[in-house]
């Protein structure tokens, strides 16, 4: 009964060996469990890099055995040189992309996170509004359900006409895409809040509004963040397309511009960057979630 050590931090995957026991009881059992965990974690990390490393290896080997039909597919060496020039401008500004990497990165990140934050905030506000006035769900739902199957990118022509070339359409598109995905998840998460939890809140003295802010929102937040995670991957997808057509900096712009110069090595370099930063965005959200929602993590783990 006294063995109630809380594991506070799962996010660091084994690196935080000491950070385990809150109540200080049962140290022996806890450290044993932790050793196993950190072993699994380092093993897991090895697996993590295995497939990408093998891919790079095979790619590098094929560099020297190209036949002419596949000449449009860039070599590992070529792409590596592109990336270095893109970041460090070793060519001295010889190409349109030389030394532009940081500018591209900052613009793409700003648009992704701008869209993510605005779209999510909008979705959460509207979701809570629906909870406040249940009848409004019936008003909003048909629109959302009709818009959902229409590819989010199909709005790009209208976005450009509406906002002109520049950040406007790119931001509009990401906000719209994120909003639609997160909104659906918000409604679902809110509906999963147990009725008795809301009753408990009321009988302890909470007003209707306090039930929303102090019970419904905190309970639904892990689910909502799951939606934000999906939203983030869509934000990258939509953003890259919007950047191809509407702006003059960013990973998407570099990718499309490179295609127009038939520089497939730069295209692949841009694809790799999008992949890496899309992956890092997701990791960031997961880490924040694991830190913020220790309770939900642990309940989920206990139910496995």
């Amino acid at each position: 009964m006294t063995d109630l050590s809380i594991r506070r931090d799962h996010a660091g995957e084994g690196s935080d060996v000491a950070d385990i026991s809150d109540s200080g009881v049962s140290a022996a059992g806890a450290s044993e469990a932790n050793t196993n965990e950190s072993m699994n974690a380092s093993e897991g990390r090895l697996y993590y890099f295995l497939v990408p490393a093998a891919f790079l290896l095979i790619w590098g080997v094929t560099d020297v055995m190209r036949s002419s039909e596949f000449s449009f597919f860039p070599t590992l060496r070529g792409v590596t040189i592109c990336i270095i020039d893109w970041i460090f401008n070793v060519s001295g500004g010889k190409f349109f992309y030389s030394g532009m990497w940081l500018t591209d990165l900052v613009h793409s990140l700003a648009r992704v996170f701008g869209g993510l934050v605005l779209g999510s905030a909008l979705a959460i506000l509207l979701g809570l509004g629906v909870l406040w006035l249940p009848a409004s769900e019936k008003l909003i739902d048909p629109i959302v359900q009709i818009l959902r199957p229409i590819p989010k990118t199909a709005f790009l022509p209208f976005a450009i006409l509406l906002f002109g070339l520049g950040n406007g359409p790119a931001l509009f598109m990401t906000v719209y895409g994120v909003f639609l995905i997160v909104y659906v998840q918000v409604i679902m998460s809110i509906k999963l809040v147990p009725a008795d939890l809301r009753r408990a809140s009321r009988m302890l003295g909470a007003s209707q509004r306090q039930v929303l802010t102090s019970v419904v929102l905190p309970y639904a937040l892990p689910g909502i963040c799951g939606g934000i995670r999906i939203g983030a991957s869509y934000a990258w997808l939509i953003l890259i397309l919007a950047e191809m057509l509407a702006v003059r900096e960013g990973f998407g712009y570099t990718l499309w511009n490179a295609y127009e110069f038939m520089r497939m090595d730069v295209v692949v370099a841009a694809m790799i960057m999008i992949g890496i930063f899309g992956f890092l965005t997701d990791k960031l959200i997961v880490v924040v979630m694991k830190r913020q929602f220790v309770w939900a993590e642990e309940i989920a783990e206990a139910n496995v």
Binding site: D196, S201, M203, E298
Partner: protein, 258 residues
């Protein structure tokens, strides 16, 4: 506080629809101030419905629920409820769960925190203030649920089979803890159970209910002196008497069906 149920009927589902269920039909009951009333009956007899009506979580189809002559319209901290499941807020520590009630009513001072710690001490959880609910056992969680109601000092406490999910040993100690923690200050208590033993152990008055449609079959005052011993002759006799009534109700219900 005096609680009065006046000619309560509660029908679920659309009126006249095929899925209509009569949960309660014309039920009247009075709870005197300071009385511990146990609603006893099988599932479907409407005992939980009666409790939800007093809690203000639902409204009767017809009839009135009155507390000191005032109509119950919504839930409130004057009627603390202990649910069947602990229903704690899973992201709040034990202490913050207990503090939830005072905090939503704007009490953030140090004295309130001390009162919360005192409430946790009363239920034997003084050393578990910082634990999250899921790191506590079921019985401990239910004790937090009791403490969280106690800190609001409600005049009425409602309990809906709060110990049904616990094992026999834990249940018995919880019943004693519940009596100790809750039955002073002339609180009125409404406790729902399907366990005859639990009813006899806790009740000043047992209200036996029968299902389809839910109604009150009989009220029995339990006059055994406290603290009650489960192995005592009087206790076993009372259990036997109630068992007899419940069996009669049951065979009558079976005869009705055939």
């Amino acid at each position: 506080m005096t609680v009065t149920f006046e000619h309560i009927s509660k029908i679920y589902g659309a009126r006249g629809g095929s899925a209509q269920t009569i949960a309660l039909r014309n039920v009247s009951l009075t709870l005197e101030r300071g009385q511990l009333v146990v609603l006893l009956g099988p599932s479907g007899c409407g005992k939980t419905t009666l409790l939800k009506l007093l809690g203000g979580f639902e409204q009767p189809t017809s009839g009135k629920v009155l507390v000191n002559g005032e109509l119950v319209r919504q839930p409130g901290p004057d009627r603390g409820t202990i649910f069947q499941a602990p229903t704690l807020f899973p992201w709040l520590s034990t202490l913050d769960n207990v503090l939830y009630g005072p905090r939503v009513r704007g009490m953030h001072d140090k004295a309130t925190i001390e009162r919360a710690q005192e409430a946790l001490r009363t239920v034997g959880l003084a050393d578990f203030q910082k634990h999250l609910p899921h790191n506590l056992s079921g019985g401990m969680q239910q004790r937090v649920a009791i403490a969280r109601v106690l800190i609001n000092d409600p005049a009425i406490i409602l309990a809906d089979e709060p110990f049904a999910a616990l094992d026999e040993y834990t249940r018995r100690s919880m019943q004693e803890l519940f009596l100790h923690a809750v039955s002073d200050r002339m609180r009125t208590l409404l406790f729902v159970t399907h366990s005859i033993e639990e009813a006899v152990f806790l009740a000043d008055r047992i209200v036996i209910m029968t299902p389809r449609p839910g109604k009150i079959s009989r009220c029995i005052d339990v006059k055994i002196s406290r603290p009650r011993s489960r192995s005592h002759r009087e206790f076993l006799d009372a259990m036997g008497e109630i068992f007899k009534i419940v069996s009669q109700d049951f065979s009558a219900a079976v005869a009705e069906v055939h």
